[in-house]
Amino acid sequence: MDQQTQEQIAKTLLKDVSDIDGVPQAAYNIRENSTCAGRMSTETIKIESKTDKSGIDIIVAPGTVQDKVYIPALVTCSGVHDLVYNDFYIGENADVTIIAGCGVNTDGCDGSEHNGIHRFFLKPGAKVLYIEKHIGMGDGSGKRVINPETYVEMEEGSTMEMDTTQIKGVDSTKRTCTGIVGPDCTLIVKEKIMTHGQQSAETSFKVDLNGENSSCTLSSRSVARGHSHQRFLSEINGNAKCAGHSECDAIIMDHGVVSAIPRITANHLDAALIHEAAIGKIAGDQIIKLRTFGLTEKEAESKIIDGFMR
């Protein structure tokens, strides 16, 4: 593959995973095929390479006001097996949006893989919105694999929302997310997954609600088409007066298979935990309603899926 195609792929992936067109006007670190392809720190957000392993430390200064940092990772060709450790240190009362995302492109028969381990340490009062998009691209038969791992440690009064999306092209994914939630903290995790063909996706959440008045919401919306498989495991341990909610809402099509496996444990009398799961095909009356607007069955189906996955 020539230099130009390579650059074009990188550009497309970058736009798709992080909405970056050109150079972002904020702190950023772009990782491409296991190396750093660009970096900028700012007054409030410092990005430094790790010295003991591959990855970066992102340090957000206390009191940072509504800032942003972009940390996309790209794998643009076959045969890359990337492993990265990124640690985020969020200072007291800092408010930051982290735009992560990973694109894997394969054009040969060799697979490519990105394994990202993201750890977040939130000081009291910190507020984080973490947005992550995963996509696979390319015509190669090599498998596109993305295994993200997140670990969140939250100190008093901090909040974290993680929005993750994987809509197309990733053959195999194993996502794990661990949360250690302190007093008066709120953790929200929303994931959206669509799988096709022979793809498989597994999500495993484990949250310990340790602090008084801590809460978490784990929600998964997914569509499994073709012969794809999905598994949704959610474990919530209520170890104090807390509220935990996990929900899995899945549409199955063709021969798709989805299983939802909740495990909620109340170790404290004032822990209130809920799990909800709904798995099924598109409701027939939804299709009928849209057909009475003149849509064909196929058009109705994709309108319903688009809305569901938005």
Partner: protein, 241 residues
């Protein structure tokens, strides 16, 4: 514009829901179908919209035999149908529904116009998801707005008043009056409400799968109110919620 010839709808165990219905509706008429619960009104509406296939008979729309046309084709020919029980969608918004109904890219202002017409404060609703958080009355009105947005030759409303409070109901009558004047089309409303019956050109009484009477309002309404037509039906029944 619409003609049903010998329409029957039978389900298993030879239970006939519609029994040899013959019906002719002229262009531009405002028709109200009434009759007791379980009489077959919704089934008749679904048969017209193509959602249920009659076991016997033929349906003509604007002179064309549409007996074998499917839901999509009938919708494209100009038939709209507001369900008795509107459908909810996770993820789709009120705006999505209205613009899908309109069949073109509406801007927010245009979509809001339809919502305002059915008495919803548009700005509060336009971006709401069509999920379980909407009340029964709200989703009914959105359903009516979606049919308004389509503005087709034939619009069918199945018990539009159900779930709508008395306060808003008065405005609803105006909605239908206005719509009737504006779209120049044919309207069929399934209703138990005297106030809706009062604005009809024609009234059809359907009971036990049969049309027991069909005529102009001034002929049918007095009979319904005086109880001459012996159907188990009270036009003064309270609005249900």
């Amino acid at each position: 514009m619409l003609e049903l010839k010998n329409i029957s709808f039978e389900v298993e165990d030879e239970k006939e829901i519609l029994k040899n219905i013959n019906l002719k509706i002229d262009t531009g008429k405002f028709i109200v179908i009434t009759g007791p619960n379980g009489g077959g009104k919704s089934t008749l509406a679904r048969v017209i919209a193509g959602i249920q296939k009659p076991t016997e008979g033929q349906i003509f729309f604007e002179g064309q035999d549409i007996t074998h046309a499917d839901i999509t084709q009938r919708a494209q020919m100009g038939i709209s149908f507001a369900f008795q029980q509107p459908v909810r969608f996770k993820g789709l918004t009120v705006f999505d529904l209205i613009s899908t109904a309109a069949g073109r890219d509406l801007n927010q202002t245009e979509a809001c116009k339809y919502l305002s017409e059915v008495g919803l404060c548009a700005r509060d609703y336009i971006n709401r998801e069509l999920n379980a958080s909407l009340s029964g009355g709200e989703i009914k009105r959105i359903e009516i707005a979606s049919v308004l947005a389509r503005g087709t030759k034939l619009s069918i409303f199945d018990e539009p008043e159900a779930g709508i409070d008395l306060w808003s109901f008065k405005n609803l009558i105006d909605v239908f009056k206005k719509m009737y004047a504006a779209i120049n089309g044919t309207i069929i409303i399934i209703s138990h409400q005297e106030r809706i019956l009062k604005i009809a050109d024609e009234i059809i009484v359907l009971a036990d799968g049969n049309i027991i009477s069909h005529g102009c309002r001034d002929e049918i309404l007095p009979r319904l109110l005086s109880g001459t037509d012996k159907v188990d039906f009270c036009p003064y029944q309270k609005l249900e919620d």
